[in-house]
Structures are given as C-alpha cells and as structure tokens.
C-alpha cells in the first residue's frame, strides 16, 4: 500500500463513520433515503465488479437479491442473524455458479436475455414452491431489526464491497479481468483460464447482492416473489452502474446518488411515471455517456495529459485514443 492508498482508506473510513451517524439525526425520510442509497451503492458496485471489466451486462441482480430475501423468509426466525447472512451469501454464490456455468459461454445479448430469464424462472419456481409446499405465496417476516440497524449493515457491506474490489484490482485476478475485458483471445493465449476467472467474479458479485437482499428483507414485513424478484431492481442497478461508469470501482457510486435521489423524488410525486423515467434515463446514458461519468472524467483527464505531452500530435490520433 502506498501513502495515497492509505489516505484514501482513512478518508473512506472517516466518511463511513460520519454516514453512520445519520440515524442519530433523523429516523424518517433521510434514513429511508440513506437505506436506499446504501443498498444501491452496494449492489451496483458489486454488479460492476463482474460486469465492468468483462462487459457482460447481467440482468440477474433480481435473482440474487430475491434469493437473499427468501433465505430470510425461511431462516430469519430460527437461525442467528449472522448465520442468515452467511447462508444468503453462499446461496447467491451457488446460484451464480450454476447460472455462470450455463451462460458464460454466451456473449452479448444472449447473456443479457438469459440472465433476465433466470430471474423470472427463479421467481416462478419460488412461487410454485410457496403455493404447493410452503403453504402461501406471501410470507410475513418477523425479524427484530430496526431501520437504523439495516442502514448500518448496508454501510458496512458497502465498505466490504469496496475493499473486495480494491483487493481484486491489485491481485492477479484483477489483472486477468482487465486482460479479458480487452481481448479474450489474448487472455487465453497468455495462460488465463478465462472461464474460471469470469465464474469466480460472477460468484463474488452474486454473493454480495444476495446479502443486500437479505439485509433489506425485514424492511417489508410481508414478502412475496413479485416483490423480492422484481426485475426493476435489475434494470435500476444496470442503469446506475452505467451512468456512473462500470470500469472504475468508484464509478457506480457516482451514478447511484443522483439517480436514487431523482427516483425518490419522482416516485413520490408522480408514482405512475417511474418506468418512463427509467426508460428515458437508460436511453440518455447509452447515447450520451456510453462510458459513464467516471469514463468521461478519465477521458477528459487523459486528453489533458495528451495535450501537454504530445502538443504536436495530429488530431486524428488524439480522437483515436480518446475513444
């Protein structure tokens, strides 16, 4: 670790500690917003751990999230809470492992559609199970956890996701991912087991998202598959991560904050227009900010250093690098 990293770590620690004081000030609107933000930061960052470097757009977020929530439905009242969270993580990772083995050979749009289908399939399976074996489609969750505690758990989880991302980035695994993102053929011919690397990252990402689902489950008191496996979650996470930029660890964070705030405002005032907002946001991002805010910032920075170091280079070459 160099001094810069130590400073960033210390600052992040302080920031988290500061944010953790929020419930002391307000238990209402702001805490609700804080929970939303923390949950989406954790999920979008976890999503980007896998999807950023590989460019595989996964719509399986709702599947992992719902799996975590249903672990709480089934174990929440019997097992100690930390055990519930660990089981959720393991279930998320296992689901990612199974889904990944089936799909990581697929590329582009095939992967997107399969992961979307997966979330729907699992929702149907859970519905079937709850109706025929579990007794009822909907279930009450009686877990004694306050909103403040949920918020603190999510903050801690955000810290963990960032720590994991940072550790991955500086490891062989992180280098392997960047190579895969650039050129899978070169990756394989350099000795990287591309399938295993992608699978591993998908599992890590899925485990984190499942834990978010578990932590948030007690918020609802009443859970049914259409809530826990709501595909809107998948879309929102993709949009936020892309808005921020999924190629940087801090990218999704930059996307989550404005989007969540805007979303809360709009769904509060115009509850029937949330889909419209999502759709429009998606189009705008893909069209104007394909690399996200983070990518845009990097680009501008790169262009500036270029101008300083290569004052004499032709505009064509500059355009090439900036793209």
């Amino acid at each position: 670790m160099n001094t810069r990293e130590v400073l960033i770590m210390a600052a992040s620690g302080l920031l988290l500690a500061g944010l953790a004081c929020l419930p002391l000030a307000d238990e209402g609107f702001w805490l609700t917003l804080g929970i939303s933000l923390a949950g989406y930061v954790a999920m979008s960052t976890a999503w980007a751990l896998f999807s950023g470097p590989t460019s595989y757009v996964s719509l399986a977020t709702a599947a992992f999230f719902g799996t975590g929530a249903y672990v709480v439905v089934n174990l929440g009242e019997t097992a100690p809470w930390p055990v519930v969270l660990v089981v959720a993580a393991v279930c998320g990772a296992l689901l990612a492992l199974l889904a990944g083995m089936a799909t990581l050979r697929l590329t582009g749009v095939h992967f997107v559609i399969f992961t979307f289908g997966l979330a729907e399939l699992i929702r149907q399976l859970v519905t079937w199970y709850q109706t025929n074996i579990g007794g009822a489609v909907g279930q009450y969750v009686f877990v004694d956890i306050s909103s403040a505690q949920i918020y603190w758990q999510l903050l801690a989880l955000c810290g963990l996701v960032f720590l994991a991302g940072w550790a991955i980035n500086r490891s062989r695994l992180g280098l392997a991912l960047r190579v895969i993102g650039d050129d899978e053929t070169v990756a394989a011919h350099s000795g990287i087991n591309t399938a295993r690397v992608k699978l591993l990252l998908f599992c890590i990402s899925g485990a984190f998202i499942a834990v978010v689902g578990a932590v948030l489950a007690p918020r609802w008191t009443y859970i049914e598959p259409s809530i826990a496996f709501n595909s809107m979650i998948s879309f929102q996470v993709v949009i936020m991560a892309l808005l921020g930029g999924s190629r940087r660890l801090w990218g999704p964070l930059v996307g989550v904050i404005p989007f969540t705030v805007l979303y809360e405002l709009i769904s509060g005032h115009f509850p029937n227009h949330t889909h419209l907002l999502l759709g429009t946001a998606f189009l705008l991002i893909v069209y104007f900010l394909p690399q996200g805010v983070a990518g845009r910032i990097e680009q501008l920075r790169l262009r500036r250093t270029h101008r300083e170091t290569h004052a004499a280079r032709s505009p064509a070459t500059l355009g090439e690098t900036a793209r």
Partner: protein
C-alpha cells in the same frame, strides 16, 4: 544448446466445412532451432499456428511438446506448457500500459511470476525489444511497429519453450526490418526455439535453420532455406507454372 526433439507435429489436419485448410502436416522442431513456415497466401500457415496454440482444435492429428500431448487442450493450458505466440494482425491490450501488457505474459505464463517480480521482467524485456523508457505509454499512443514490439515482448516475458511468430516482420520499413531481424537473431543466439511464418525472403535466408513450405494446406517441401527456395515445386507454388 541441447539438441533434442521439442515439438512434434504429426498428421495434423483441419477441415473448415468443405475446405481442408491444413492437410496431414507432419514435421519436428529441435530445441534451439529457428524454423520458417512458408507458403502462398491462404495456404494454411496461420491455421497451423492456431492448431498448435490451441486457438483451433484439429480435425485429426497431434501436437506434442517434449512428449506431452497438447492436442485438444484449451489455449490457456497450452500456454502454461510454454507455448507463446504473436498474432498476424497485431493484438495488444488497449487499456493496459506497455509495461502491463508485457507483465501479462510473465504473470500468467508457465512460471506464474508474482505481479511485483513481473514488473521487473517486463521492464527488461521492453528494454530488449527497444521500448526502454516508454513503459508507461498505452498502445494507442504507439506506432504499429512498437505495438508489434509490445506483442513480442509479451510473448517473451513468458520465457516460453517455443515461440510462434505469425508474420512478425510484415509491414516494417527497411530500417525497422533490419532491427527486427537482429532482434530475432539475438533470440536465436540465446538458444530460443522459434517457429516463424514469414514472407520476407531476406529474413528467411538469414534467420532460419530450416523451412517447411505449405501449399493449399499440404506440406510441399522441407529443408534448409537454400534448398526449399531452389525447389521447383516451391517456385511453382509461389509464382505459378510459367516460372518453374
């Protein structure tokens, strides 16, 4: 330089639909040899390289490295046994710096060098291919020849048992070509084994210990550069019937 059998290719065949791109090719490469793979456009040279590196699975036949069968292994396993390559159309990693590009070869190659140590390896290999002092640049900021150098450096950083070069000298101007030939000669001098697809006759004459010539997928001739380049069949394959 111990003279022992390193790579053995036996009856290697690749069929694409109805096209036999590589047809029953067999030859051996001794450790420390530089072998040229020649042939007109479309004769199957790149396909043969792809069969050795695992990019393609052969329809028939086998590739053996020091007695170990490589046929059917995925590319990353073949790379781990010490086969490294460059590509006919240069393939560099655009989001990585020159140094990181080359580190990749060492970190994931047969020796699985730690990232810290790989940095040092990458630095010295870049120096060797003439890119010393430009480690921090990204490929997009470099010329075509420099990108080719990065690619060669990436392959060399793996410290491979055998190096596959697919027209690495193509597209260089005369001065660059001389530098390129010198570079490959220095690899030869340190005892590296190289299989190189090449069209540049000067390079073939001055570098290759032996050549294999392909035509329409089949092996047409094998021998020293002087022998194969004087072979009437080879001349016919390259220039057409009138010149034989």
């Amino acid at each position: 330089m111990s003279n022992h059998l390193l790579l053995s290719i036996a009856g290697l065949t690749k069929v694409f639909g109805g096209l036999v791109a590589v047809n029953q090719i067999s030859f051996d490469i001794q450790a420390g040899e530089v072998v040229g793979l020649l042939g007109p456009n479309g004769s199957g040279k790149t396909t043969l390289m792809n069969l050795i590196s695992g990019a393609l699975r052969p329809t028939q036949g086998s590739v053996t490295l020091e007695g170990r069968r490589l046929t059917g292994l995925p590319p990353h396993r073949i790379a781990a046994t010490g086969v490294a390559r460059t590509f006919q159309l240069v393939r560099v990693l655009p989001s990585l710096s020159a140094l990181e590009n080359v580190m990749v070869g060492a970190v994931f190659g047969p020796d699985q060098v730690s990232p810290g140590a790989a940095r040092a390896v990458a630095r010295s290999v870049l120096e060797r291919v003439g890119l010393g002092g430009r480690e921090h640049l990204h490929p997009a900021e470099m010329t075509y020849i420099d990108q080719k150098r990065i690619e060669l450096a990436r392959a060399l950083a793996a410290d491979p048992r055998i190096l596959l070069l697919d027209e690495w000298l193509a597209g260089l101007n005369p001065t660059e070509l001389q530098t390129g030939i010198e570079l490959i000669r220095s690899l030869q001098a340190e005892g590296r084994t190289v299989l190189m697809v090449e069209h540049v006759m000067d390079a073939i004459r001055s570098l290759c210990d032996r050549c294999v010539v392909m035509s329409a997928g089949s092996k047409l001739a094998e021998g020293t550069p002087a022998e194969v380049l004087a072979n009437p069949d080879v001349i016919r394959a390259y220039l057409g019937d009138d010149h034989a």
